[in-house]
């Protein structure tokens, strides 16, 4: 053949056979390798299918929690005290800009951006994912929103976001009772994790930090919803697969009466002091004011360092004086002291003493002086209260002794937290032998007992303790835990919070209540009573007791301030009282620090508050919440 002619030494048949052999080997190799590929693919697609299926879904499906709207807070008349308002904030998505600083500079030409805002923004940029939008400036005014909106198209990385933010329309007036919400911080986060509530708080930005907002955080918060979304490799949302709406938090109706509260705040007029008003029939807290106060809205958006430092002033606006201010109760406990003395048969209704203007213990040089240097003359228990005679109660205390006083006052809640539904509370001090031993490592001296008779010595009390003890006297022994919350409105309708009744204070002789009440009545209604002039002309009958405390500081840790010392040496003006006399509806305490006499400085405030509360009641006797039901769990069907 032709080929053989050209290369005669070659054996074509042999070469063809060789190639065929090699080609078959190669083809077999191909098939083997294909089976290797296939068996590997079979392993991946069939044996490990579940694993990879799960991973693929894990890649694409993300569950995004949706924060519930916080429950609203109303007062007893249905006036809104805490609401959720859309707040506009300027935000930047870091991923969308090459140069963050330039972007901020560009925005700074449109609105003022403080160094603090800039710093805070740059800090959170480091913590967040690049495609998440981060707040640069919050609380934009409508004018700023307008200015920005017009120019924002030039800065694609920036946008205006509207979020619901807590707003307190009454600002300063309710701060200490209502509290506020603030951004969740690391501590909150740790607490949430410890409580196993990460799921509940997954999308939540704000948490109750004080007062009612903190105490009822759980009720107010609600249940988060979630959205199952499909995301791409950059975490961007492609579509929504499933959505479960959040359940908004419960709305709270407080026992507070905003008109009374407002009046009390106005009457304190920025002075240091406090007002607590309680309904003696159920322990409902009608007013709780601490002055000076501050704007809780500042905390909602993150308070600036400058604003916060201003709150650390000597006047201590951050303290809730109503529950944390510990004052010597002074003469405001004289009616209680009378009851103990009557109960222990130290005195009777008819017993009287001669008051020379001082009381002296045997073997003690220094006399205990009455506030009236020449004395009140012949004094019985009524006159002792009417004139606030010190000598009478020095003598009574001396004869009672520390143990009987201490035990009895414990029954009125002194030296214990009142249990009101906020966390910020001090128990103050009801001294006893054991207490003095533990606290000062000293024995109890008879001299210590004498000044207890006029509510001085080691005895301190918070305004809410005083208000509640007054309520107990007004209700002849009925004892309720003070409650700010009246009712809550959730998915199940309106739930009335039952009054928290404690074992009443039972006297051996019930008539002793009448004596104390009559004594307090005299203070207001009898000529010469320390509050007689103040309450003249009121269209209701009230009872009360003035007090003038000879002590300065409200807190043990207060610093010595030379400039203020003269003013701070002045007496605290105090008043406790209730009204109407025969069917009490309100019992209150007024404390004005360093304002001088209780009759002249505190009682007038009490008068105005009674006026407001009892007047308003006569106009609209049925209060919104009380209308629904009386005591007990009373669920009223309600649709939202």
């Amino acid at each position: 053949m032709f080929l053989r002619n050209r290369t005669p030494i070659r054996n074509q048949a042999l070469e063809n056979a060789l190639f065929a052999r090699r080609a078959i080997i190669a083809f077999v190799g191909v098939i083997i390798l294909m089976f290797v590929l296939l068996s590997n693919l079979y392993n991946i697609q069939v044996n490990s299918y579940d694993k990879y299926q799960t991973q693929a879904n894990g890649n694409r499906i993300k569950v995004i929690p949706i924060a519930p709207n916080r429950g609203l807070i109303y007062d007893r008349n249905g006036t809104i005290l805490a609401e959720n308002k859309p707040s506009h904030s300027l935000e930047i998505i870091p991923e969308k800009t090459k140069n963050l600083t330039e972007t901020i500079d560009a925005l700074a030409k449109l609105v003022t951006i403080t160094d603090e805002e800039r710093e805070r923004f740059l800090k959170s940029v480091k913590r967040q994912r690049r495609f998440k939008s981060i707040v640069l400036k919050s609380r934009l005014t409508p004018k700023q929103v307008a200015q920005l909106s017009v120019n924002l198209h030039q800065i694609p990385a920036a946008r205006i976001e509207a979020r619901l933010k807590r707003h307190y329309p009454f600002a300063h007036i309710l701060t200490h009772a209502l509290g506020y919400v603030a951004k969740l911080n690391k501590k909150d986060q740790a607490r949430i994790i410890a409580a196993g509530e990460e799921a509940t708080y997954a999308a939540t930005r704000d948490i109750g930090r004080l007062g009612i907002e903190k105490f009822y955080q759980k009720l107010l918060h609600g249940q988060p919803g979630y959205r199952e979304i499909e995301v791409n490799n950059r975490g961007r949302v492609v579509r929504i697969l499933n959505e479960v709406a959040p359940e908004h938090g419960q709305d709270l109706y407080l026992n507070l009466d905003i008109n009374l509260q407002k009046k009390a705040y106005q009457e304190l007029a920025g002075r240091r002091g406090s007002v607590v008003a309680i309904d003696p029939n159920n322990g409902a807290v009608l007013a709780m004011v601490s002055s000076p106060s501050y704007d809780p809205n500042l905390f909602v958006h993150g308070i600036s360092g400058k604003n916060y430092r201003a709150l650390l002033s000597a006047d201590k606006p951050l303290i809730n004086r109503a529950t944390q201010g510990t004052y010597p109760p002074a003469s405001t406990i004289k009616q209680l002291m009378s009851i103990v003395a009557l109960e222990e048969k130290i005195i009777t209704e008819k017993t009287s003493i001669r008051d020379p203007g001082w009381f002296r213990l045997p073997n003690v040089e220094r006399p205990f002086r009455d506030h009236l240097a020449w004395g009140h003359g012949k004094v019985d228990v009524y006159k002792a209260m009417l004139k606030s005679c010190d000598t009478f109660f020095y003598d009574v205390a001396n004869r009672l002794g520390i143990d009987r006083i201490s035990t009895f006052m414990d029954r009125f809640g002194f030296g214990q937290k009142s249990g009101v539904d906020i966390y910020e509370e001090k128990q103050a001090i009801m001294p006893s032998r054991a207490w003095k031993r533990a606290r000062h490592n000293q024995p109890w001296y008879p001299g210590d007992t004498i000044s207890l008779g006029i509510g001085q010595s080691y005895w301190t009390a918070t305004p809410i303790q005083l208000a509640n003890s007054t309520a107990i006297v007004a209700a002849s022994g009925q004892f309720f835990t003070p409650q700010l919350l009246g009712a809550s409105q959730g998915a199940n309708g309106l739930l009335q919070l039952p009054a928290d009744e404690r074992p009443p204070v039972i006297l051996r002789d019930n008539y002793n209540w009448k004596i104390a009440q009559k004594g307090m009545w005299g203070v207001v209604n009898k000529l010469g009573g320390t509050a007689y002039n103040v309450f003249k002309g009121a269209n209701y009958v009230s009872a009360g007791k003035t007090g003038t405390a000879q002590l300065i500081s409200i807190a043990e840790d207060e610093e010595y301030d030379e400039e203020k010392i003269s003013e701070r040496h002045r007496d605290n003006a105090m008043y406790v009282g209730y009204a109407p006399f025969d069917k009490p509806e309100i019992a209150l305490t007024v404390v004005v620090e360093n304002a001088g006499g209780g009759g002249s400085s505190a009682a007038p405030i009490a008068r105005k508050l009674f006026d407001v509360y009892l007047d308003q009641r006569s106009i609209s006797p049925s209060l919104v919440v009380n209308q629904q039901s009386t005591a007990d769990h009373n669920v009223v069907g309600h649709t939202h």
């Binding site: 053949m1 032709f2 080929l3 290369t7 030494i9 070659r10 054996n11 042999l14 070469e15 063809n16 060789l18 190639f19 065929a20 090699r22 080609a23 190669a26 083809f27 191909v30 098939i31 390798l33 294909m34 290797v36 590929l37 296939l38 590997n40 693919l41 079979y42 991946i44 697609q45 069939v46 490990s48 299918y49 694993k51 990879y52 299926q53 991973q55 693929a56 879904n57 890649n59 694409r60 499909e230 995301v231 791409n232 490799n233 950059r234 492609v238």
Partner: protein, 371 residues
């Protein structure tokens, strides 16, 4: 023997007239259809991209038709000059080449860019087949040695660009030619043993850092799940979550949501596996197997050893493409830039591949009357 008498041309079929093998063409067109369907999905339903690939396909079919017109003797005559020019261009690429993606692969002629390493995928098997068949088969040690040197030069030059994938393909094209020429098993065995110290040397002296990283990642992708391991992990998730039947066309979450890298090019097999499942994969492999079977049949039917060896080498190289590609996306092999032949998006490799099939068609259709 009686059919193939010198000087007697058997009556020409249509296939012989236009030098196209219809069976092979059918297989290739089937692959291209699959390619367009998967690219449409992988590109996020980008019709423009599908059109561009259609144009690439048309051009490569044109290249195939042209290549099919040249009888094998023509290729053989031009083997040495083509080889020399190819080497020259590779050197030129290294010296003046256009840098793209960190590698010099292109020569810019001003009017067009040209990738000499692609041409080498065909030139080298032509050269080796030509050289080795000048002597009686099976090939002797001496000729195998010289053949190896002829292979080594372009492989080294391409590797230096650096382009590991192409140098593997070019190298295997040459080695398959030697293998089909009957290189003795003893030589194959010793080369296999020699490969072990050689690969150590490669590792320490020649491999670039990014190549080393690829190999390390291949050995344990979980080492670096967000860096180099990411591609392999995501690809395996795509393939695995496809299961037996797949998620359906356009429904692959890994590909549609862009978790898969290089979806329409190197990792297109993962898209196909995710959307069409193991059944789709088997169908694809059957098409490949059919094409290779047809090509090896043509090779075996060819009349001279040069044609046989050339057709065989081109066919086996085609297999290397798909083996390396599927192996790498399914985690059997390290990631080297080798496309899934005729399915991955891209014109360059497709033109080379289809030219190769044109040569095989030429071998089949020029057979009877080409003396």
């Amino acid at each position: 023997m009686n059919d193939n008498k010198a000087g007697f041309a058997k009556p020409q079929s249509l296939s012989d007239k236009i030098h196209i093998d219809f069976l092979l063409l059918a297989g290739l067109l089937a692959l291209m259809c699959i390619s367009l369907i998967v690219i449409y999905s992988a590109s996020g339903e980008n019709m423009a991209m599908v059109k561009r690939q259609g144009i690439n396909m048309a051009a490569s079919i044109g290249a195939m038709v042209i290549a099919a017109q040249f009888p094998p003797t023509f290729l053989r005559r031009w083997a040495v000059p083509l080889y020399l020019v190819g080497i020259g261009l590779l050197v030129a690429t290294l010296l003046f080449g256009h840098v793209g993606k960190g590698a010099q692969r292109w020569i810019d002629f001003g009017f067009a860019k040209f990738q000499p390493s692609e041409a080498m995928k065909l030139i080298l098997p032509i050269m080796i087949a030509h050289y080795i068949t000048r002597y009686a088969l099976p090939a002797k040690l001496k000729h195998v040695t010289i053949g190896t040197i002829l292979i080594g030069i372009p492989v080294f030059l391409i590797y230096k660009q650096p382009d590991l994938g192409t140098s593997i393909l070019v190298g295997s094209a040459g080695i398959f030619a030697l293998f089909l020429a009957g290189m003795s098993w003893r030589i194959i065995g010793s080369l296999a043993i020699a490969a072990i110290p050689f690969s150590f040397m490669m590792w320490s002296f020649f491999l670039h850092d990014y190549q080393k990283r690829r190999v390390l990642t291949f050995l344990n992708p979980e080492l670096d799940p967000l860096g180099n391991g990411y591609h392999i992990i995501q690809s395996k998730i795509a393939i695995g979550s496809g299961g037996l039947e797949g998620k359906g066309w356009l429904n692959g979450t890994q590909s549609q949501l862009e978790f898969l890298p290089e979806r329409h090019t190197d990792f297109i097999f993962s898209v196909l596996s995710e959307e069409f499942g193991l059944f789709g994969v088997i169908a694809l492999l059957c098409v490949y197997l059919f094409i290779m079977a047809r090509c090896l049949f043509i090779a075996n039917n060819a009349q001279e050893p040069f044609s046989k060896i050339l057709a065989g080498a081109i066919t086996l190289t085609f297999f290397v493409y798909l083996f390396v590609n599927i192996g790498m996306v399914s985690g059997l092999l390290p990631v080297v830039g080798v496309p899934l032949p005729l399915v991955s998006y891209g014109g360059t490799s497709m033109i080379t591949l289809m030219s190769g099939f044109g040569i095989i068609m030429a071998i089949q259709t020029h057979r009877k009357f080409n003396r």
